[in-house]
């Protein structure tokens, strides 16, 4: 792992005052290895064509590359059937797709959706929109004081026979990794469908959708060494095939007449219009890259780095670290510095070349729950090192000095 950072050209760049970039914002978006950038470049230089339509050589090559990426991404999450791997724009679009098709058809007045207070806005607002439209009820699993989901509360909520339980695999603020396998099985016993926001988990650990037996799952390429503009919706084929279509247009149809159309087979039924082809190819190379290193290795490395970060952060006067114990969390740490706004913290660190996130991280309700309006977050990926953590801690001492 100690040479991995050399695969990422951006990490060589200098930022403020000639300082080396120390990138601690991978939970927002990860950096990209050269192999991914090169693959997308090569597509435009050598293969560019629209897919699923032409019969010429380029179109065939491009279609093959696009579909091969789908297979490899499926493999990466334990899914062999390409019909279950839908390319979308990102996690947000994947969740909205389920809300606007499956849920819109399957749920009606007074039906219950169970969520958690640690959801990113993308797994909250689509359900709020649907709830307003269909007169649904939303309820939330309580958090324990150390930032875990209260499973007793979950059990009680399940007695009310929800139609859907949707939750994040890993919180992008607390870092909590939820016991999703158990939660999915409990939901199924109660007769509910499940949706997993895997935006923060699939990039950082080995996730097998078939072992989890989850019904829907969503994640984004850009958080896992891939490009922006592309994500995945995984869905069980039997659910996807019964669902109404999402966007209408080219590619998603089998036949069109003036007043009617017949939808295409899976997965194309949900991929209307020309997709992000270069991005799909880049995404395929990103999962190859991650598999080459090993997801278990990455998870273990990040855990060790996070433990070190928490230990070092807690020695800085005025620091409060949020979230559970290291055993229950992934590679990020949110914290506040007493008397200093997170934006001021981030700005002073930026002057040292250190990039962290400050704000509500698209989780305003969770911050309310913690009793703060904003926090600072350092998030790690395979290319970060202990030296990055040391630089962060030195930077925080400087912040304290500026504000004495």
């Amino acid at each position: 792992m100690n040479k991995v950072h050399m695969d990422f050209p951006i990490l060589k760049r200098l930022v403020k005052a000639g300082k080396h970039l120390i990138y601690l914002d991978s939970a927002a978006t990860s950096q990209k290895p050269l192999v991914v950038i090169d693959a997308m470049d090569a597509y435009y230089k050598e293969m560019n064509a629209n897919i699923h339509r032409g019969v010429h050589a380029l179109a065939e090559e491009a279609t093959q590359a696009y579909e091969s990426a789908r297979m490899r991404i499926g493999d990466f999450i334990g899914v062999k059937d390409p019909r279950e791997i839908i390319f979308t724009k990102n996690t947000t679009e994947s969740i909205n797709l389920v809300a606007k098709t499956w849920a819109r058809q399957a749920l009606g007045k007074d039906d219950l959706i169970i969520l958690t207070p640690m959801e990113h806005h993308s797994n909250l607002v689509p359900w709020q929109i649907l709830a307003a439209e269909k007169d649904l009820e939303l309820d939330f699993i309580d958090l324990t004081p150390d930032g875990l989901l209260d499973l007793n509360c979950y059990e009680r909520l399940l007695e009310r026979k929800p139609k859907l339980v949707a939750f994040t695999h890993m919180s992008n603020v607390l870092g909590t990794i939820n016991p999703v396998k158990e939660m999915i099985s409990m939901a199924h016993q109660a007769g509910s469908v499940t949706l997993l926001d895997a935006a923060q988990s699939v990039p950082h650990m080995s996730v097998n959708m078939k072992e989890l037996d989850v019904d829907f799952a969503a994640f984004s390429a850009h958080k896992m060494c891939g490009p922006t503009g592309i994500g995945i919706l995984y869905g069980k084929a039997e659910l996807l095939s019964g669902m109404p279509v999402f966007l209408g247009g080219g590619d998603m149809i089998k036949k069109v007449a003036l007043r009617s159309f017949q939808p295409n087979d899976l997965p194309h039924k949900f991929e209307a219009g020309t997709p992000p082809i270069a991005e799909a190819i880049g995404f395929g190379v990103a999962v190859d890259y991650l598999s080459g290193i090993g997801m278990d290795q990455i998870a273990a490395y990040e855990r060790e780095l996070t433990a070190y970060a928490i230990e070092r952060l807690e020695e800085v006067p005025g620091v409060t670290v949020y979230g559970p114990k290291v055993e229950d969390r992934g590679g990020l740490v949110s914290f506040t510095l007493e008397g200093i706004h997170p934006h001021d913290v981030a700005q002073i660190l930026d002057g040292e070349g250190i990039a962290i996130r400050a704000g509500h991280h698209c989780a305003m309700p969770l911050h309310q729950n913690l009793g703060i309006t904003a926090s600072s977050r350092a998030s790690f990926y395979l290319y970060n090192t202990r030296a990055d953590v040391d630089a962060l801690v030195d930077g925080l001492y400087k912040v304290n000095k500026v504000f004495h």
Binding site: H341, H343, D344, Q347, K398, V402
Partner: protein, 132 residues
């Protein structure tokens, strides 16, 4: 080291002169910057000639937004509201003595936006109030 955090900004943030409330305020407005949760409420006492005779603010947020509020109020006391209506982004930056990127500019300009919205008696503050 950090030009942005000039002593004046940290000092005003930590030891504000105009933070609190006033009796008999007749112009007040409150707004927030949802991006970072900065929040500012400004109360003014304006006499029959339109002169600001007393001013106070309350709120929370980053050092830039809070220092900007404190410096702004110091500069407007004794002035006519018509002069405040004409204040610009540049006036605020001159007061703070720093250059700011687009994100932090919003923090710095929030107090000016709030005071103008209050003076104009608006229901909602608008970014056009602080565009030059």
């Amino acid at each position: 080291m950090d030009d942005l955090y000039r002593e004046i900004i940290v000092d005003r943030y930590k030891n504000p002169r105009f933070k609190g409330t006033i009796q008999g305020g007749n112009v007040n407005f409150e707004d927030e910057n949802p991006l970072c949760g900065d929040q500012i409420r400004i109360d003014l006492k304006v006499d029959e000639f339109g002169t600001i005779v007393e001013a106070a603010y309350d709120g929370h947020g980053c050092a830039i937004s809070q220092a900007s509020a404190d410096l702004l109020l110091e500069s407007v006391i004794g002035k006519n509201v018509e002069i405040v209506k004409k204040m610009t982004k540049q006036d605020i930056l001159d007061m703070l003595g720093i250059e700011l990127g687009p994100v932090r500019l919003k923090c710095a300009l929030l107090p000016l936006k709030v005071i103008k919205a209050g003076i104009y008696g608006l229901k909602a503050a608008d970014d056009s109030l602080v565009d030059d």
